[in-house]
């Protein structure tokens, strides 16, 4: 895994400081869950790690100098699927890697098997349910064998069965040595999946702790209130 040391990351949009000096060490292994209220900067942070956004200031140390060109994959909260079959959508992720067509197809078939969608490989990806679509998005990321997998609320708006399926896939991806950073608002999911938790509020890291300690003895007031379901961030309206 990359050392991944983030220092004083800053990013503003629309006159609002979304990331305000975010610093965290994310080297190591396993699954790190990013928790925090809406607008805290979690998704922006993931996009920055993925190379989709440029920071206004601060640094991300990947250990190799520049951001690695390969080995990072991201699954979005609302993944977009091409007007193609499931197989075609999964194969797509291997095209920029220069994988030959025959190998692409074989690997796509294999990964669809692992996410339980092999029986629908020839179906249109646009006809999938929300849960199936997220499994397909995970397959599309998994097929590239990423060293770092970024998951932006992959189970938002899914039913419990779909959430369970996604969590099983995430755990399986982890067993292959992939480092996973994931955002969620589901505290139960965080306790089930996380090795450690990073709590972000107002664009800063308030706390970074192993999962049991985070939920048993949150060190920051913001995290304590968040866990208790009290929302000091609630907007007045």
């Amino acid at each position: 895994m990359f050392p991944l040391t983030v220092r004083e990351l800053r990013w503003a949009a629309g006159g609002r400081q979304v990331l305000d000096g975010l610093s965290v060490d994310l080297g190591g292994e396993g699954i790190t869950i990013l928790l925090g209220p809406n607008g805290a900067g979690k998704s922006v942070f993931l996009r920055m790690l993925c190379g989709l956004l440029e920071a206004d200031g601060g640094s991300i140390d990947w250990g190799t100098g520049a951001r690695p060109a390969r080995g990072i994959a991201m699954v979005f909260q609302q993944p977009r699927m091409l007007r193609d079959s499931l197989l075609g959508n999964v194969e797509l992720a291997l095209r920029p890697l220069g994988v030959p067509a025959a190998e692409r197809r074989a690997r796509a078939q294999a990964v669809l098997e692992r996410v339980g969608l092999a029986g629908r490989a020839a179906d249109s990806a646009r006809g999938l349910s929300g849960g199936e679509r997220q499994r397909l998005a995970l397959a599309r990321a998994w097929i590239t064998r990423p060293r770092l997998l970024l998951l932006d609320e992959p189970t938002a708006s899914l039913d419990p069965g779909s959430v369970d399926a996604i969590e099983r896939i995430v755990r399986e991806i982890r067993t292959e040595g992939t480092r996973i950073l994931m955002t969620t608002h589901n505290l139960g999911q965080a306790t089930r999946l996380a090795d450690d938790v990073v709590f972000i509020d107002a664009g800063r890291v308030c706390e970074h702790a192993p999962v049991q300690r985070f939920f048993a003895r949150p060190a920051s007031q913001a995290a304590r209130l968040y866990i208790q379901g009290e929302l000091p961030w609630r907007m007045a309206f």
Partner: protein, 234 residues
């Protein structure tokens, strides 16, 4: 029977009898417009897609220019191509003036901006949806253009149809660069204009009916294809 009724009945007789003149003109029209649309597809769709995805200085100006060229007057294009292909023009040595090739060139110039402008809009809308996914997967802009052209293929049929409609109904440019020469460069539209001015209404009506039928048929096929694609790809 009045004059209009007579013209129509004679026109149907011409069509039913597979009149050679009609067949020759229809065939040439289809060849010229078909080739123009083919070139328009090869040039215009990628050009539009590049403008839809690419972000570079001067892009907005190019988009405005392209949109402006959608309404390019065909006679202006005809004059420009005429000047380019005439004996003293830069392409005069090829001897293309008053040939079907000259008509294809003129029609291609007319349909490329139209098809590119429609493709630009279609692909740009798709790019808004896919930009993050494709960029996260490591696609560069050129590969993204390829992916989106394929993904939007059914929507881009509209651009092809619009190009075909423009090419087939166009009369000014092909008249200028083709010369409307019988058995050589006479298309449906130029023949309709000529025969109407001569008072030979049955032939003009017959060609008009074929023109309408061809356009309706192609639109029908395109519509059926889109319906199939919507069912297939949800």
């Amino acid at each position: 029977m009045n004059g209009l009724g007579l013209a129509f009945s004679d026109a149907f007789a011409l069509l039913a009898g597979f009149d050679r003149r009609v067949a020759e003109i229809v065939l040439l029209s289809l060849q010229v417009s078909g080739l123009a649309v083919l070139f328009g597809t090869v040039l215009g769709l990628p050009l539009g897609a590049c403008l839809g995805v690419g972000r570079f200085p001067g892009r907005q100006a190019l988009v405005v220019l392209l949109n402006g060229c959608m309404g390019l007057p065909s006679v202006v294009v005809g004059v420009v191509v005429y000047l380019a292909l005439s004996r003293s023009g830069p392409l005069g040595k090829f001897g293309l003036l008053y040939s079907p090739a000259a008509m294809v060139i003129a029609q291609t110039l007319l349909v490329v901006p139209l098809m590119a402008a429609i493709a630009r809009q279609v692909v740009e809308d798709a790019w808004r949806d896919y930009e993050e996914e494709l960029t996260a997967m490591g696609f560069g802009w050129a590969d993204s253009v390829r992916v989106l052209l394929h993904d939007c293929r059914h929507s881009l049929l509209v651009a092809v149809l619009a190009g075909l409609g423009r090419a087939m109904s166009e009369v000014g440019a092909v008249m200028i660069v083709g010369g409307n020469i019988e058995h050589s460069t006479r298309t449906m539209t130029t023949a309709i204009a000529l025969e109407t001015s001569k008072g030979d209404l049955p032939l003009a009506v017959a060609l008009g009916l074929v023109l309408l039928a061809v356009i309706l048929l192609l639109n029908g096929i395109a519509h059926a294809l889109r319906q199939w694609a919507m069912r297939r790809y949800a």
